[in-house]
Amino acid sequence: MANIELTDLRKTFGKGERAVHAVDGINLTIGDGEFVSMVGRSGSGKTTTLDCLGLLMRPTSGKIVIDGTDTSTLSDGKRADFRSHKIGFIFQGFNLLPSLNAIDNVMLPLRYSGGDKKAARLRAQDLFEEIGMSDRMTHRPTQLSGGEQQRVAIARALINQPTLVLGDEPTGEVDTETSQKLIALMRRLNRETGVTFILVTHDLDLASRTDRLVRLKDGRVISDERQTARTDAPADDIADLVSATGAKDGKGEPVPVA
């Protein structure tokens, strides 16, 4: 659904000798409906790239074009509008509002994008069916397990029928079994809806199940491979991913394999 072009994307924090080039000239094109993972050790620039892609952060230079819109020219207000209509977010910590029940959390983005509330509620109900939680719609986040909370967060990311969903470690705070279920859910939603998913992850199981694997190091793309997504890949079989990202080289943090 979303055609994305990153052209010489750079993001520098600090100035002079203290400048840190978190993203250092990324060029990337992602086509409609792709299911992409970005991997790399801490400091590789994957999260900063995701923040720039999600229009949460302005790049220092370079261009991000999403569905033909050059987002670098948008004002803060237009960027907020763009986010609310085109982009869905899934965060590692679920980020559900404790004061709202599950369905109201899912409908939160509609508060800012407007639209027909009745139709939105019906859509939210459909999404709850999709994620298999129709009986949990009125539960509060504290009454849901971690996996359930993340499923609600996934439904929230899709409520505005975005063209792009960005996930920041979406399986980072759940156990292996739940993680696999979440991956399967996102995969299914990607196939059914055609929404483009870009997931930043340390979870190699998740990475192995994406259509495309982009590896980052020091703010640059060091490899960009299409892969046949595994549906039942055991974690051990994908350990080779680790070496490329440098996570096991003794310098970076270990990459969890489950």
Binding site: L56, F89, N95, L108, Y112, N160
Partner: protein
Amino acid sequence: MEILRNLWRRKLRNILTISGIAIGIMAFTTMGSMAEKNNKLIDGGVKYFSDHIAVSDSTSGFGGGGGGLIDVSKVARVQAVDGVLAAFATAGAAAKADSGFSFGVPDEIAGAAPGEGNYENFKLSAKTGVLPTDIPDGQVVLGSDIAKEFGKSVGDTIDLPQAPKTPRADFVNHSFKVIGVLNKTLTAPDNFAFVSLHDGQVALGDALPPAVRSQVDTSKLISGIDVYGKPGVNLDNLAKKINTEVPGVKAQPPTEVVNAFKSFSLIFSAITLGAALLALIVGGLSVVNTMLMSVTERYREIGLKKAVGAKTRHIIKEFLTESVVIGLIGGSIGLLLGFIITSTINASTASQNLDLFLLTPSLAGTALAFAVVLGGLAGVIPAFSAARLDPVTALRSQ
């Protein structure tokens, strides 16, 4: 609902903050009610006293207080001054022999000459019975407060002045038949027992020390003269003219009376409302503190909202609404407490004729609006600081 749930999530802190506002509004309401009552009295006083010149004995103080007696012949002398339309003798005494300090207007026996009502701008109206014009001897028209205080209505009899608990041997009073009860005016007439001029003179004489009492002819003594000017005549100038032309009397220029009333009103209002505003400012600062803490605690929530499309104005609106709701809840509780306090005190002091508070709808509305505005203002800084948060920083915060 979400706002209430957010407030409920931090129960203790928000209850304390709301209590701060409630106490402030309660203080504002009670103090304001006191000022309102006082202002009504003063407004009434201004209306009541500004349409004529009050003439008293030349030794009297401001407003005729502490003065002596006037010979009734002075009425004709005053009447003869150029510019005077009519002059009426007045005579009276305290309606309660042991009347001590009174917060409002003291109860008084007011003997008035017939016909004065035709000249007064301040119009009285009868709740029951007749108006105090041409009252026959032995009869009385009671103001609303004095009637309520003594539980009298038309047809009853009342002894005036009311005897003290332990009357002196020379204490004298007389029975009067109540022929009218007036509607409330919120000023002096509410505490007047209107009698004929003759009965007023008798009461005046009865109040004199026994040694003096036997040596004077009370029918020739009065306590004051109410003077009405001809159309177009400046009453202040007329008062000065009376003072010059009629020896032994003191004519008080109405403007002096009115200004004195107004400055007292202003000082009273400033003191009472100032104290209440101080309490409110403290309440307002606690809202600022609570909301700033709320912003700090909800960084991730703000970040999330921005990520899913909330604009600066959405965040400002949400936080402002929350602080306004705090103000509204605190204000409503404070107003209710203020209402309970003022009506309880009014009810308990009604028997002493001490109606201290007047909680008007406009004061209640002002108090509530003030609480809401205070809540809103207190929320401005926190709301803007929330709206200015960088979404990435907010989302990654712990």
